[in-house]
Structure formats: structure tokens, C-alpha cells
């Protein structure tokens, strides 16, 4: 076990994957000499050479499109999209090519591509640097979408994503890059939990609280605060956003009868909507209250002085828990069918 930052854990995972497989190549803007704007690839070009860690021209469709060609040639490219809001120029290549090539060719062409996306807000950046675009991709079949919440998962799941024969979007919560945690670098990948699996972080009996990426840490704080008020919260770190590990969430909701989903992305058509609908279909009779979503507003990401109003924080998620519990201090009346 070693203590390392989230950022360092991704770096170590990338290094391990590159050591294990000479076909793994990294591509992105500023990832070579500079080591990435967040230093995630720090030192890798020096150690593996310019052919393994490529600084690319500033063209996101170009990065993903050429990575597809490298896949045809037998490579396993790992592409860094510098910021969440910069992924859209590559959207066509991701949605029309990366996601569909395996289906198009009846399984003959594999696209074992990993796309790393630093995402989410909370770092005081200008526009386009704080977005949560994951739902665009969970809506696209052929892609796997994961989001990591702690250094150990960051280390393990980047390697799982790279080893996977399907394309994987790997969403990194950039505001957690400097958080520290224990990482077992000797962990055997085959013994690690599946990349598709959700994880129950705290056992609880009153409310199931589902989160992923940056809000998992907040959700754990919520569980403590709610516990102080006598509410027992079961926190689930989703880890995989497509597919969602519904059996784990369902088992929890059957136990608690209450479901709160939190994410930074806007509510309309978001992952929370899908999870709420799916759980309602699966265990309607077990629900004591309608599923509750605590999300970013349906607005463009605001300028940084206002981002704290947009991002679900401890108090807003606690309010969501109160709503699920029908507590009188909550804002449940704002949420009803009357508006």
C-alpha cells in the first residue's frame, strides 16, 4: 500500500498498463513534455518515448479519429480530452465511429480505446472547463462509461478500461485530483471487482444515496451528517455509468425503500432520470417515496462565482434525503405535481 493523490494514482495506472502492453499508446494535447495540464501523464513521455506518449495537434476529432486508425493497426490508444467541454468536436467520431465499429463490422473490428475526460466543476474555471457531459455518452450504445471516485479505483479502473476490448470513457473528477488515498499497486487486476460493478460504501437502512465521481465524497459526508440526525444512509458509488449495476442498487432500495440520486450534470434527461425510472420499474412496490434527484440545474455551467449554487453540496443533498424521508423541514412541496 502507498499513499498517493488521485492524480498520481491515474499516472501510476497508466504507467502499469504501458509496461504490461507495448501496444498501449497515449495521445492528447500537452500530455508529453508538459505531462498534461493536470500533470496526469507527468514523466511518461520521458520514460516511454515520443511514440508511446504523443503530443497531438489541437484537434479533438483528429485525436479520436486517428486513435481509431491505430486500433485497426492493433494498438490500444488512451486519449486525453483536456477538459470536459472540449470533447464536442470529437463527438461525431466517438458516437458514429468508436461506438459503432464493432457492431458495423459484426465483431471483426475491435476498438479498445480509452478516452480520459477530466470532468465536473468546483475549480473556479472559466466556461467549458467544468462540465458533466456523461449522459451524452451513456445514451450511446457501444460505449462503456465509467467514473472513478477515489485513488484506488482510479488506479485499478484505468487499467481495466485499457485492457477492455470495448471503448471506454473514463470520467475523472478533476476537483478530486489532489485528494489522497491508499493505493495497492500490487493489486491483481483479475482479482479486482468488475469495472461494471457498483460498490456499497456505507451500510444503511433508511435511504439509498447513489452518486459517482466527484459527489461520492460529498455523499459520504451526507451519510455522516444524516447519521447525526438519526437517518441511516446507504451510499452507493456507481462506478459504472453505462451499464449501471442495477442489481446492487435494486437490492439496496428494496431494503431502504427510498432512493436519492446526486450528480453535477443537469437533471433533464440525465443519469438520475434513468436510474429513477429503472428503479421504479424494478421495485415500485418497495418504494416508500418517489425517487429524489439532486442535480445541477438545467443551465449552462455558470461563471465560477456562482458555481457553488449550481453544484449539489452537502446541504442540498441532505435536503434531498429529507425529502425522501418526508421530513417537514425539507423542500418537498416545491417538488410536487402542483407546479
Amino acid at each position: 500500500m502507498a499513499t498517493m493523490t488521485f492524480a498520481r494514482a491515474i499516472n501510476a495506472g497508466l504507467r502499469k498498463a504501458m509496461e504490461n502492453d507495448p501496444k498501449v499508446v497515449l495521445m492528447g494535447e500537452d500530455i508529453g513534455t508538459l505531462g498534461g495540464v493536470f500533470r496526469i501523464t507527468d514523466g511518461l513521455q520521458k520514460d516511454f518515448g515520443q511514440h508511446r506518449v504523443l503530443d497531438t495537434p489541437l484537434a479533438e476529432a483528429g485525436i479520436i479519429g486517428t486513435a481509431i486508425g491505430l486500433s485497426y493497426r492493433g494498438y490500444r490508444p488512451v486519449c486525453e480530452i483536456q477538459f470536459d467541454g472540449f470533447i464536442y468536436p470529437a463527438f461525431d467520431q466517438i458516437v458514429s465511429q468508436v461506438a459503432k465499429l464493432h457492431y458495423r463490422t459484426q465483431g471483426l473490428v475491435k476498438v479498445p480505446l480509452t478516452i480520459r475526460v477530466p470532468f465536473g466543476g468546483g475549480i473556479g474555471s472559466p466556461e467549458h472547463h467544468s462540465e458533466s457531459p456523461e449522459a451524452y455518452f451513456t445514451h450511446t450504445s457501444g460505449l462503456r462509461v465509467i467514473s472513478v471516485s477515489n485513488p484506488q479505483d482510479a488506479y485499478t479502473m484505468i487499467q481495466q478500461a485499457i485492457a477492455c476490448d470495448d471503448p471506454v470513457l473514463y470520467f475523472e473528477p478533476k476537483r478530486r485530483y489532489h485528494d489522497k488515498g491508499e493505493v495497492d499497486e500490487g493489486l491483481d487486476l483479475s482479482a479486482a471487482p468488475s469495472m461494471e460493478s457498483a460498490r456499497v460504501l456505507t451500510q444503511g437502512s433508511d435511504v439509498t444515496l447513489v452518486a459517482y465521481g466527484p459527489l461520492v465524497k460529498t455523499a459520504l459526508d451526507v451519510a455522516v451528517a444524516a447519521g447525526d440526525e438519526g437517518i441511516s444512509v446507504e451510499v452507493i458509488d456507481l462506478r459504472s455509468l453505462s451499464p449501471v449495476d442495477y442489481p446492487v442498487v435494486e437490492a439496496s432500495v428494496r431494503k431502504t425503500g427510498r432512493l436519492v440520486i446526486a450528480h453535477e450534470a443537469g437533471q433533464n434527461g440525465g443519469l438520475g432520470a434513468e436510474i429513477a425510472a429503472s428503479l421504479t420499474e424494478r421495485c415500485f412496490n418497495y418504494l416508500e417515496h418517489a425517487p429524489v434527484r439532486v442535480t445541477g440545474f438545467d443551465i449552462p455551467y455558470p461563471y465560477s462565482k456562482l458555481e457553488m449554487h449550481h453544484l449539489p453540496d452537502l446541504d442540498r443533498i441532505l435536503d434531498g434525503v429529507d425529502r425522501a424521508m418526508d421530513r417537514p423541514n425539507s423542500l418537498s412541496s416545491l417538488d410536487g405535481a402542483d407546479d
Binding site: 511514440h51 497531438t56 486517428t66 491505430l70 493497426r73 457492431y103 473490428v109 470495448d166
Partner: protein, 393 residues
């Protein structure tokens, strides 16, 4: 002055052909006479040498055969056996001249119209029309013939070819990646980005642009104010503009570009100026947007006709050759037609196959539900298809 726009309408400009352009490479003039171009002649030693008759006969056969495949496919579409077909009529020299210059270990990324190139790559003729019958989204195994399956998103494949070429570079191989695309595609951002990447990494890729003058209803002049070849110059990529209806010019220019790439000279761009004699697809009606005179002008420049004139001038267009090529065309057309008619139908549950390479819990559940849904009808002795179309409206 307001309202007095001196810029000619794109349609007007499209009529001004640039075949007098000295940069325009031609080795066979429209009368079939061999024109000397020292810079290109060196790539045609086999054509101009002792075994030339055999090489020319081979090119002639290929062009006639792919025209026949094209006509057969159009007929199959008209007979309701294919959903759609994008004809290559008129582009035979561009596709055979370039396709026959390739080595087996080169890799082609094309659009949907390069079925003549696929023929050169050795595609299984039973399967070439599978896509167009709606029985699959790909008509061949890309790794069997080293050619990616047809790309429908305009220009997207150019980036794939550059990535593949970067992989060739990493591997230290001397293969070349080919990107086939049309005049319309040059306006797509992907094509520009692919040229940026190719130039930056000096990747062994050949951009082969068939300027067939029309992107559905839009003339090439709507896409560009300079020649398409000149575009490549802006990226620092060597480029030539060849007569795309001259199979020898295309063959020579392609060989030169491939050789440059194999020697580490990086990317090249060839603009093959040709003409889409047919509609964009069988669903298109070109009489709505183009002049019959234009078609007539280009019919006079027909690539097969031109090669026939050349063969004739060298006394090579023998009755024996004509008969052999006709027999081969008949045979190929028969295989293609039979392949379509006898093509196995996909199974209902194939709809879920190959979405992912690894098991996916969400999709497995959906698949399982649909299987059980369909099974209900089997139980009652009716097919699901019967149910869907079965008068429950």
C-alpha cells in the same frame, strides 16, 4: 454595387473545366494517344515495356468488370433486390488505376462508392452487396482484404487512415494507408484535421480524392474556389491533379505517391478529376440539378472508351480480348447476382449481436426480454413478424 454580384453562380463556374491546366497530368488524351510526361513515365515501365499488352489488358478487364458489377447492382436495385446502390459509373479509371497500384499489405479506408477498389482488393463477390441489401452494415472482413468497410459519414475515414499510417510508422513497416474520399468530403473538418495530423507526423498515407464534380446536387465549385489538390499544398503535403478518367495517369501518380510514402517521404494528395456519370445513389434524380449537355461532354471522356481507343491504336483490342473480358464480366455479374439472391437472411436476435466485444449486463437483459417476448408468439404458433404486420391496427 448592391445587387450586382459579379461572382458567377457555382453552377456556372462548374462548366469551366480546367483540363488545359498545365499542372493537370494526363498520359492518355481523349483520343487514346499516349502523351509523354517524363516525370510520370518512369512509373509505367511495365506498361510501356514488353509485357505492356498484358498489363493494359488487365486494367481494361478490371474496368469493364467493375462497370458490369455496377450495372448489375443498379439493376438489382431496380428489381427490388437491393435497398440502395451508389453507382461508380464513370469512375472506373480512378478506382482501378489506384487500386491496382496497391500492395497487399497496404490498407484502404474508403467511402461507400469505392466498390471498384474493393474488387481490386479481392473482396468476396458473394458478399459485396450485403450492405446494400440491408443484410449487414459491412460487406467484407476488413482484415481479409486490408480494406475498412465502407464509411458513410463523409470524410470520417480520412482520420482513420492517418491513424493507421501512424501505426505503420510505429511498427517500422513500409506499408501505406489509403484514404479515398470525394470532392464534397474536402469541406468536412475531419479531412482538414487528417491532413494536419498526416503532415505533422509525416505519416505514410495517400489521400486519394476522386473529384467526381458532384456531392449529390452540389457542384464542386460550391466546396472550393481553388483546385482540391491545392488545398493539400496549404498543409505542406505534396499534391498532384491527374486526369481521373485516364487509368495510366492515375496508376503512375498513385505509384509515385506510394513510393514516396514507403521511402519515408510522408503523405501525398492526389486529386483524380473524374465524373459521376450516374446518380448519387439509386434514390437520386440528377436531372433536377444538372445539365444533360454536361453529361454528354463527359460521356465523350469515358474512361473505358479512352482505354479502348488506346488499345486499338496499339492493335491490342483483339476480338479474343473483347470476348475474354465479356465472358469474365458475365461470370462476375452472375456471382454477384447469385450472391444477392441467395444471401442468408439475418435472424431476429442478431439485432443484439456485437454491440459490445465483452458481455454487457444492461444489453443482456434487454436481449433476454426480447427473446422471451418473441418466444410467446412461437408458443402460439405465429411468428413475431406475423404479429407485427398482422392486422391489429
Amino acid at each position: 454595387m448592391l445587387g450586382e454580384d459579379s461572382t458567377p453562380h457555382p453552377q456556372e463556374r462548374s462548366r469551366r473545366e480546367q483540363s488545359e491546366d498545365p499542372e493537370f497530368l494526363q498520359l492518355l488524351d481523349p483520343s487514346g494517344q499516349r502523351v509523354a510526361r517524363p516525370e510520370l513515365d518512369r512509373w509505367l515501365a511495365d506498361v510501356d515495356g514488353e509485357g505492356g499488352a498484358r498489363v493494359l489488358a488487365g486494367l481494361y478487364e478490371d474496368m469493364v468488370v467493375i462497370r458490369r458489377i455496377d450495372m448489375e447492382a443498379t439493376a438489382l436495385q431496380r428489381q427490388g433486390e437491393l435497398a440502395l446502390w451508389p453507382p461508380l459509373l464513370g469512375q472506373e479509371a480512378a478506382q482501378i488505376g489506384s487500386g491496382r497500384a496497391l500492395r497487399q499489405d497496404d490498407f484502404v479506408f474508403s467511402s461507400y462508392r469505392e466498390n471498384g477498389v474493393a474488387y481490386c482488393r479481392g473482396v468476396n463477390l458473394n458478399e459485396i452487396l450485403r450492405v446494400w441489401r440491408g443484410n449487414a452494415s459491412s460487406g467484407w472482413d476488413p482484415f481479409e482484404i486490408n480494406m475498412a468497410t465502407p464509411q458513410i459519414i463523409i470524410g470520417a475515414q480520412t482520420l482513420h487512415s492517418v491513424g493507421y499510417a501512424m501505426g505503420i510508422q510505429f511498427d517500422g513497416a513500409d506499408s501505406v494507408a489509403l484514404a479515398y474520399f470525394g470532392d464534397g468530403a474536402t469541406s468536412e473538418g475531419d479531412v482538414s484535421e487528417s491532413m494536419v495530423f498526416a503532415a505533422s507526423y509525416q505519416a505514410p498515407v495517400l489521400f486519394f480524392c476522386q473529384n467526381n464534380h458532384w456531392a449529390i446536387s452540389e457542384p464542386v465549385t460550391l466546396q472550393t474556389h481553388i483546385t482540391l489538390a491545392e488545398r493539400a499544398g496549404g498543409f505542406g503535403i505534396p499534391h498532384v491533379r491527374v486526369d481521373g478518367n485516364d487509368v495510366l495517369a492515375v496508376l503512375a501518380a498513385t505509384r509515385e505517391a506510394l513510393d514516396r510514402a514507403r521511402q519515408g517521404g510522408g503523405p501525398s494528395f492526389i486529386e483524380a478529376v473524374t465524373y459521376r456519370m450516374g446518380p448519387h445513389t439509386t434514390a437520386d434524380d440528377p436531372t433536377r440539378y444538372r445539365d444533360a449537355n454536361e453529361l454528354e461532354d463527359w460521356a465523350a471522356k469515358d474512361p473505358i472508351l479512352r482505354l479502348e481507343k488506346h488499345l486499338e491504336s496499339r492493335g491490342l483490342l483483339t476480338q479474343e480480348l473483347r470476348e475474354r473480358v465479356a465472358a469474365k464480366s458475365d461470370e462476375v455479374a452472375g456471382v454477384v447476382r447469385n450472391g444477392v439472391i441467395t444471401m442468408p437472411e439475418p435472424e431476429a436476435m442478431d439485432v443484439f449481436k456485437h454491440v459490445y466485444a465483452t458481455p454487457n449486463s444492461w444489453l443482456s437483459r434487454q436481449e433476454d426480454h426480447y427473446r422471451r417476448y418473441l418466444a410467446q408468439f412461437e408458443h402460439h404458433g405465429a411468428s413475431a413478424a406475423g404479429h407485427v404486420s398482422g392486422g391489429q391496427h
